[in-house]
């Protein structure tokens, strides 16, 4: 059941009405409604894994209480590490098993030992990378005494299964989420209105732009041998636009849907296309993943290596970005993605130029020449790198890269349809104007009279309705 489908609309309508009427009396009832709805939502996507998910959530719930109940010492550490192993073990089994198996077979093959690999067909539970990280973070926070364990299994299950964020995040923190559902939510018309507008903007990015780019991007990536360098470059740049619109669109819908239910999820994107350097880009892109990685990978690692000076910093950054890359899945393209990001990042970190040059004014109408140049440079660099998330293999990516840089054929073999470029330019323009806001449709009432605001909403809604019907999967579901 995709967010941009009629079935979801009906589902949401039922959940919303029940949540704010019959269940509105207590937090308990509201949470039960959310939990049942989430189980139905996940069950409809993948009934086999609903059992696995519920079971692992309950195991983590029990582990959390167990760890918190023990004094600092060996026993506590043992339970903690058992939890880490179980979570990572499940993730590795489902997501990386075949990758490792093929790797081992190839390695043995290079020593002359031929094996017939009977690859296991391992199906990937939806959302596993997202929910595993949430539960892992929960256990780490308890172990570090940064949070109290959740006292109620229904609340904890609601946290893990909560359908607005279930399939592709944001990777929400228990510390932020649980206190919100511990109290009875009161219907707040302003929050609901804001949520509706955020959903609308998400749908615009997803349905009008991302889905429409599918055909062009697929054509360039699948038939790259037929295209010249400029077209290939168009292809990777439009893929970055596509994955941005798809994922930020999904995130805006998720945050919006959650606001309709009175729960605020964490911001996942802060206009990364306006990033002026690599650090700035990663501060704005998939924020719930990058902050998770900073807190649970980078910080402990750089703490451990703090006596090693710059070498410690380099190692910590490399491992963190490698983890970011591999988080996307089991493929060498993702490994290279992580390696490249750290190569871009390290010089900046060593020169301590992270905060310099990045900040543009949030109120100025236009960026300066220097900022524009840096944004464009970042856009091209990230386009070339994010192509790795789309290319099926390293060989494919390498061939495309060499096509971009060395193809003698400069003539454009396939023009980007103007019908696609117009909404993209509108999105960029609107997001630039609204870059100080949480989402692009938070229009200032003082600047925008009611008639203009409602005209904008109507036009976007019309466009979404006109373009919908394809219901293409969200790209990040595969991660």
């Amino acid at each position: 059941m995709l967010f941009n489908s009629g079935a979801f609309l009906l589902f949401m309508l039922i959940v919303w009405v029940v949540h704010w009427t019959v269940a509105a009396r207590s937090a308990r009832l509201q949470n039960v409604v959310l939990l049942v709805a989430s189980a139905v939502f996940y069950g409809m996507a993948d009934i086999r894994f609903l059992v696995l998910l519920t079971f692992s959530a309950l195991v983590n719930y029990a582990l959390g209480s167990r760890i918190a109940g023990l004094p600092e010492g060996t026993a506590r550490s043992r339970w903690f590490w058992l939890g880490v192993t179980l979570n990572l073990g499940t993730l590795i089994y489902f997501k990386y098993f075949n990758f490792f198996l093929t790797g081992v077979v190839q390695l043995l093959g290079s020593f002359g030992l031929e094996l017939e690999p009977g690859t296991l067909v391992v199906l990937l539970p939806l959302g596993i990378s997202f929910y595993t990280f949430q539960m892992l973070g929960y256990l780490i926070d308890i172990q570090h005494e940064e949070t109290e364990p959740c006292k109620d299994p229904v609340d904890f299950l609601t946290y893990v299964l909560y359908f607005p964020k279930m399939l592709a995040g944001p990777i929400e923190r228990a510390q932020r989420f649980l206190p919100q559902i511990a109290v009875t939510r009161v219907l707040d018309p302003q929050l609901i209105g804001d949520g509706m507008r955020q959903i609308l903007w998400g749908l615009f990015a997803k349905v009008v732009i991302a889905d429409d780019l599918n055909e062009y991007v697929n054509n360039v990536f699948d038939n790259y041998t037929e295209h010249g360098s400029i077209t290939l470059l168009f292809g990777v740049m439009l893929y970055l636009i596509q994955i941005y619109c798809d994922f930020s669109g999904y995130s805006n819908i998720a945050l919006g849907v959650s606001k309709l239910l009175g729960v605020r999820l964490m911001l996942n994107f802060a206009y990364p296309l306006f990033g002026t350097n690599i650090s700035d880009f990663w501060r704005k892109w998939h924020i719930s993943l990058t902050t998770w990685m900073i807190d649970y990978v980078f910080t402990p690692l750089s703490f451990l290596l703090r006596d090693k000076g710059k070498l410690g910093l380099v190692i910590s950054i490399s491992v963190t970005f490698l983890a970011v890359g591999i988080w996307h899945g089991a493929n060498w393209t993702y490994v290279l993605f992580g390696v490249l990001q750290s190569i871009y990042f390290i010089p900046l970190a060593l020169s301590q130029g992270i905060n310099k040059a990045s900040a543009y004014s949030l109120t100025s109408r236009l960026p300066t020449f220097g900022q524009t140049w840096r944004m464009l440079f970042m856009f091209v660099l990230m386009s070339l790198t994010f192509g790795l998330l789309r290319a099926p293999s390293l060989a494919h990516a390498a061939a495309m890269a060499s096509g971009i840089f060395t193809s003698p054929q400069i003539a454009v073999t396939r023009w980007v349809p103007a019908m696609i470029m117009v909404p993209i330019l509108v999105l960029i323009l609107v997001e630039w104007m609204q870059r100080s806001k949480d989402h692009a449709l938070q229009l200032d009432r003082a600047k925008w009279p009611a008639w203009s605001r409602y005209t904008i909403y109507l036009v976007i809604a019309e466009l979404v309705l006109w373009k919908s019907g394809k219901e293409a999967d969200f790209i990040y579901f595969q991660f």
Binding site: E145, F303, Q352
Partner: protein, 82 residues
């Protein structure tokens, strides 16, 4: 160790990493208020403080730091135990 004694030394350790003293040593000062104090420079500052006071912190203690006030308390606690 007295608070008045600690503050200039903490300030020195921080500015040694960040290269400026454009911050006030208030209790409610957070890293976000100080230019250049981010996740990358954070650990250098921690190392700088460890050297300045010849103490060792635990990761747990660092993760719990909320602002300058809690940092001062943490350093004081290292001396009251010893």
């Amino acid at each position: 160790m007295e608070r008045e004694e600690l503050i200039p030394r903490i300030q020195r350790a921080i500015s040694g990493v960040l290269g400026h003293t454009n911050f006030e040593m208030r209790n409610d000062l957070t890293a976000a208020d100080v230019e250049g104090w981010d996740s990358l420079t954070h650990m250098s500052i921690i190392t700088g403080l460890e050297k300045e006071f010849n103490v060792k912190f635990k990761l747990k203690e660092i993760n719990k730091l909320k602002n300058m006030g809690s940092l001062i308390e943490l350093i004081q606690s290292k001396f009251s135990v010893a």
